[in-house]
Assembly symmetry: C2
Homo-oligomer: 491 residues x 2
């Protein structure tokens, strides 16, 4: 187990963890949101972030501080904590983002890490190369090699008890992301940003974002704290957490406020388009959109930023509570309906069900079947895998609900979409206690049929009959020929 | 148009309306939430409901007031508005609920309406018979006949400018609900509660609730303000509004608070199970669950009731904003994932797509395809109906994306799941500007195939080819034989 990170609870790929930040003499509970502070202008003061919004950690840019003389001198003299008046942990970025935007920066990893250490940062960052999506494989490989050299340099810089991040790059090549994750994990660095996903987010490519994170996670160990770098929209936090991300940073709360943009977990709204505030936060319960529109620029920006932060932190709490209750994927189900690209993201997450199954607890609250997508959840996959190992009688009657017949068989098992067959003795164990809709769907029936297939394959020679109620012929066609079919709706 | 109710905007079956309440000299914007006030104990004072939560209308029970001597005398003397200190509109219930619970009450419709008028109620209610679900048809018919007699009595009671409700009963018989709606609509009464749905809600029978509302709505005119009587859980407001309900009442906010129950749009939580507050309201941003648990009973109840109200009113605002923006069904999509029974409710709503299509605007923002269910939305149905009337050439090439070939044809149309075919000139008009996932699904493809079938049926003899990319054979099998199939992925 990595010393600085301890896992407390898990659901799907998501987890509640404790990141110990020795230099700040504090621990940060994850999933955590790091508000981005621009040292040159702050919309909401760091002190207010801590006191009013409960921020335990924030992030600021050491490259900007380094490049702004008076701020640099102040930071060196007072230290970041005093300068920003923030009691929690402070992470610093290195200028890699500026590198990716402007093509050139004038510090090395060594210099910037030493500077970060000198100004009292609690978590520092080397200068990696944020390779954008869709570049040539050659470029992705070359830049990854450079990033990896920089991480090795970073390991040797004298940074005391400051934690240091090891960004994971690799563009849109899953094998490179995985290799980058494995390399980073093998360093003695501490926190692992999945880098250069901002261009994916900007283009709503949540499917590709999920693939990038999944690949990085395969390389990183389960005990690595993962930062989804540059991901600040609350709409996608649940998806990111379910894939195994622990840290998010948000510049969006302030940048969007500056443009009169209003965050919601269903997407972004323009203030001018709102006739009602779809929110219960202190800003939205004591003001109407007209009230806010009537404010002078600076105050309007501050109120919108406060709303944006309330929504953002509430979603983080909602996610933590969902992990505790074991219904994180039910929350992802809802968020997936915010935009068709979020649905793509969720469908892609389910491609990685086998990977998520590894960390998913064997028992939780109740499994809720709430869409066709639910049929592909890790819990269903796990049940199917288990079917290979269950002991079976010589002849077996499978049926939904109570056995309507089956005296001729040695035993009768239940069949429940989407899980498929199971011995009645398991009826009260997770996930077979699932709540399912009365109106089932073909995805659930097909998954049940798949379960039957696995059971039959694992038990050649077993005599099997299925008593079903009006299953569609396409679903029945999925079953092996040796399964005898009995339509129970025919008297 | 009914004088007291004016429609301002619509989306699916939902609408924003203005209910004019002459006796209160006010108008109430709908959808509206009526907090239920128990005249004997109030957790949150009516004045605070108005000032802090923006309540424009509340409901209290005239039967309880009538039966409690000191309260009755005070109400008769001061009037309800002064007694409750509430500046908005006040609706009164009649004791029908008590009748359904205890089997007997000691007032007649005439008496209770006169009493309601005497105490200054703005919207009064006769004593109808709330027939529970699943009773015999005979009982449902008998009781409906009684309810209808009472409505006729109510028409003749002298009630000045007090509005009077006409409850719609009929148990779980859709034809009776529809007939009851038609009868109520023909009276000169003003507001139309769909009654006796509480037992359905208590059993999570959102599917049956939707069918009951749909039937009542078929009988009522579009201009009738509809009250979903006893429905106070914010999880189902969007579903109720999308079916055409305008008024909701909530006793839940207070009753649940008394039992340490915490409302969310994803369902109810027990305070003891919460480690984090999944909410951004003033209560939840300034307290942790531990803080609230540590409070004395009375204060804890008040804080929970305040949270419950914040969530409830925020959902009403969210729904109104969704109607304005034209994305109410996208909100219903999300709420449908709160519980499998809510999914049943949404799937049932889509059974009534043709009914909802009647009020759905022809143009809105962007249609978001966010689930298999989206394929059955009214907008898809409308496009299919339109296909019967579009002018077609003698030979037509249909294809996803750009025409890869088609020179041999008179024209080339686009095919987009879930809509199906349309002339390229319509590409920029609603709903064909839809945002759809990159990963389409079989429901979308099947709906597109259905569109092709309609087009072909409406144009016998037309020469049609479909250029598709790897459509599954089950979907292709839905197409008429005369459609030539060209798999564009085969070079
Ligand atoms: Mg893509
Ligand atoms: Mg049912
Ligand atoms: Zn807000
Ligand atoms: Zn709250």
């Amino acid at each position: 187990m990595r010393e600085c990170f301890e896992l407390r609870d898990a659901d799907a790929g998501g987890r509640i963890g404790e990141l110990t930040v020795p230099r700040a003499e504090t621990t940060v509970e994850t999933p955590a949101l790091l508000p981005v502070i621009n040292p040159n202008l702050d919309t909401i003061s760091p002190r207010r972030l801590a006191e009013e919004f409960g921020a335990e950690i924030l992030i600021t840019n050491s490259y900007i501080i380094h490049g702004t003389e008076d701020v640099r001198e102040q930071a060196l003299e007072e230290g970041l904590h005093e300068m920003l008046e923030f009691p929690g942990a402070i992470m610093t970025d290195s200028g890699s983002f500026q590198l990716s935007e402007y093509g050139d920066i004038d510090v090395t990893t060594e210099e910037i890490l030493e500077f970060q250490h000198a100004i009292g940062s609690d978590i520092g960052t080397p200068v990696d190369i944020p390779t954008p999506p869709d570049v040539s494989r050659e470029r992705a490989e070359d830049e990854l090699a450079t990033t990896q050299e920089r991480l090795e340099v970073a390991e040797d810089v004298e940074t005391g008890d400051m934690l240091v991040t090891a960004p994971v790059q690799g563009s849109t090549y899953p094998d490179l992301r995985e290799e980058a994750g494995r390399h980073a994990d093998a360093t003695d660095l501490d926190v692992f940003p999945v880098g250069a996903v901002v261009p994916l987010m900007n283009d709503y490519r949540y499917d590709d974002m999920v693939d990038a994170v999944a690949a990085a996670k395969r390389g990183l160990g389960a005990d690595a704290p993962v930062h989804l770098f540059g991901a600040g929209h609350p709409m996608m936090f649940a998806l990111g957490v379910a894939m195994g991300c622990d840290l998010f940073d948000s510049a969006a709360y302030a940048l969007y406020a500056r443009d009169d943009r209003y965050l919601t977990v269903r997407g972004t709204r323009q203030l001018e388009d709102l006739e009602y505030f779809p929110c219960s936060c202190p800003v939205c319960t004591s003001n109407s959109p007209d009230d806010i529109r009537a404010l002078p620029d600076r105050e309007r920006e501050e109120e919108l930023a406060a709303h944006n932060l309330h929504v953002t932190f509430a979603e983080i709490r909602r996610i933590k509570q969902a992990i505790r209750a074991g219904n994180l994927l039910e929350l992802v189900e809802q968020r997936a309906r915010a935009h068709p690209t979020m649905l793509d993201g969720y469908r892609t997450l389910l491609d990685h069900a086998a990977q998520l199954e590894g960390s998913d607890p064997v028992s939780k609250g109740a499994f809720f079947y709430t869409s066709h997508e639910s049929a592909r959840r890790p819990e269903v996959l796990r049940h199917h895998q288990r079917l290979d190992r269950l002991e079976t009688p010589e002849s077996l009657f499978l049926t939904e609900g109570e056995p309507a017949r089956g005296d001729e068989f040695d035993d009768s098992w239940r069949v429940e979409p989407p899980f498929g067959p199971f011995p009645r003795s398991l009826s009260k164990s997770y996930p077979l206690t699932a709540e399912v809709p009365e109106r089932t769907d073909r995805a659930a029936l097909e998954a049940a049929a798949e379960g039957i297939c696995r059971l039959v394959e694992a038990n050649p020679g077993m005599d099997v009959a299925l008593g079903h109620r009006d299953w569609p012929s396409e679903v029945l066609a999925l079953l092996p020929d040796e399964v005898e079919l009995i339509d129970l709706t025919v008297a």
